[in-house]
Amino acid sequence: MTFGAGVLTTVSCKQPLGKSESGAHMRAYGERSPFEGPVRVIRELTASPGTGSSRTPHAEMYGTITPSALHFERHHSGVPSIDPAAHQLLIHGLVDKPLVFTMTEIKRFPSFSRTYFLECGGNSIGEQSGNTQPDVQRSHGLLSCTEWTGVSLKEVLRGVGVKAEAKWMIAEGADAGRMARSIPMEKVLDDALLVYGQNGEALRPEQGYPLRLLLPGWEGNANVKWVHRLQFADAPAFSAKETAYYTDLGKDGKAQIFTFVMEGRSVITRPSGLQKIVPGFQEITGLAWTGKGRITRVEVSTDGGASWGDAVLQNPVLPLAVARFRFPWTWDGKEAVIQSRCTDETGFLQPTHDELIDARGSNSGYHYNAIKPWRVSADGSVTHV
């Protein structure tokens, strides 16, 4: 079909010689403006490439969705390069019929998309032990929120026939270290997904391309990336990453194990550490999330916790996704301590740092979810407390 616009195109092609004011060429795959700078902060833990973490710059993010290029990362054996045409998913163990699926076959299942947060079990690990970070990216950056697309794991399992004796599913990645985690059957049969899409396009390699296990509301590590093997068993594997790591050592020397759910928490992302504000109107904004459903309320205090007011939650508030909150504030130029606290649909109220330490001690490390206060000094600079 031909449109009148074709005539305009012909005219506009006849540019006068000299400097053009018609702008840059188009790009087949877009990039952000060169004037924009937020990037992940990378911390590599070993001399081997890609092993460590990178954090989302929350102070400079808007809304609720984390751009794929800024999604946090935590890799234990680097990022593998996987050709989806060669990738296979083996499902075996306590099943009637062990099967192997190609990516093409996985994608033939009915697909759907859901928005879920993902948070590393070790997010804010330093906050508990007193090693407080200077800004919200370093203290809370192992959290992101994405529209994931994939298939329901239980639908894929229909043809396999998981036996009644199976109580656990051991999920293994195709990364160099073949990282593995044991997942209880209840979660497998509830809302577990196999995802291949991230914010409308294929998963990024760093998020498990071409296939990732997605366990809504559960600690990031259990959401096994590059997943290539699912083994059903009557017992957990007690793999290194579910015993030596991601367990919560308490004051009595006993450690909680299989602590999957990320409990409710919130944080003010603006104004936050290393930023500087001026007196007058100042919107306080941040994020709240819970692995137990929906956030129902976020309160903000600007007087060190003496009084609290309700923040406005951006609609829609989706279950197991981050909620964006906003709270109008006029800063009078005097020193202030600002903080947020959330309540989720189970009635869970975010604890203070002292309440959390009192209950858990200082050494559990993982799953830290206490209130985060920021100090605004008289000169407007914001620092951690």
Partner: protein, 176 residues
């Protein structure tokens, strides 16, 4: 969370129709080749054997470059493998294979799937048994000449075997 009503209706509507994405039967050979899981009761352990005495040589060649000559690790880079037994309830707990890991089978599983870091799965089963024995020996948990194999490894008693409890959160009951 429940899958949406719409999705359930679609699924119901298609019951009886051909299954999507059939997959293909997995062969016993490929399951054997890919299945790395070692369970705490020893299921999944391959045939083989090794002692700490022999493991010392493998460790020196394959492991010491990162974990140091006696499993001390290297500060901020590579984890410490030894020590810390009895420290878990103190203010400065030291979590190592010896002090924290509940099962010796996990040591074998982790070394066989993930180590050496730059060439994982390059050790034969006898070498994995030997290095596992050496790391346990460094922690004072097995004798230098004790043979570890698929029968004896699961019997090694780890100090923190009973140190884990189920998720008991929310441990914090915040009230205002």
């Amino acid at each position: 969370m429940a899958v949406s009503l719409m999705f359930k209706l679609v699924v119901l509507g298609l019951i009886g129709a051909a299954l999507w994405g059939q997959g293909r039967p997995a062969t016993a050979e490929e399951i054997r080749r890919l299945d790395l899981t070692v369970f705490s009761d020893g299921r999944g352990l391959p045939a083989g054997k090794g002692t700490a005495a022999r493991g010392a040589a493998v460790y020196k060649e394959k492991c010491a470059v990162c974990h140091n000559d006696k499993g001390q690790g290297r500060e901020g880079q590579w984890p410490t493998l030894v020590g810390g037994i009895g420290s878990l309830a103190t203010r400065k707990p030291v979590k190592t294979v010896g002090s924290y890991w509940p099962y010796a089978t996990t040591v074998f599983d982790y070394i066989s799937r993930s180590m050496p870091f730059d060439h994982p799965r390059s050790l034969v089963a006898d070498d994995v048994y030997a290095v596992t024995a050496f790391v346990l020996y460094l922690n004072g948990l097995v004798e230098q000449g004790r043979e570890l194999n698929e029968k004896t490894l699961p019997q090694v008693k780890m100090p923190n075997r009973n140190g884990f409890v189920p998720d008991r959160r929310p441990v914090v009951k915040a009230e205002r």
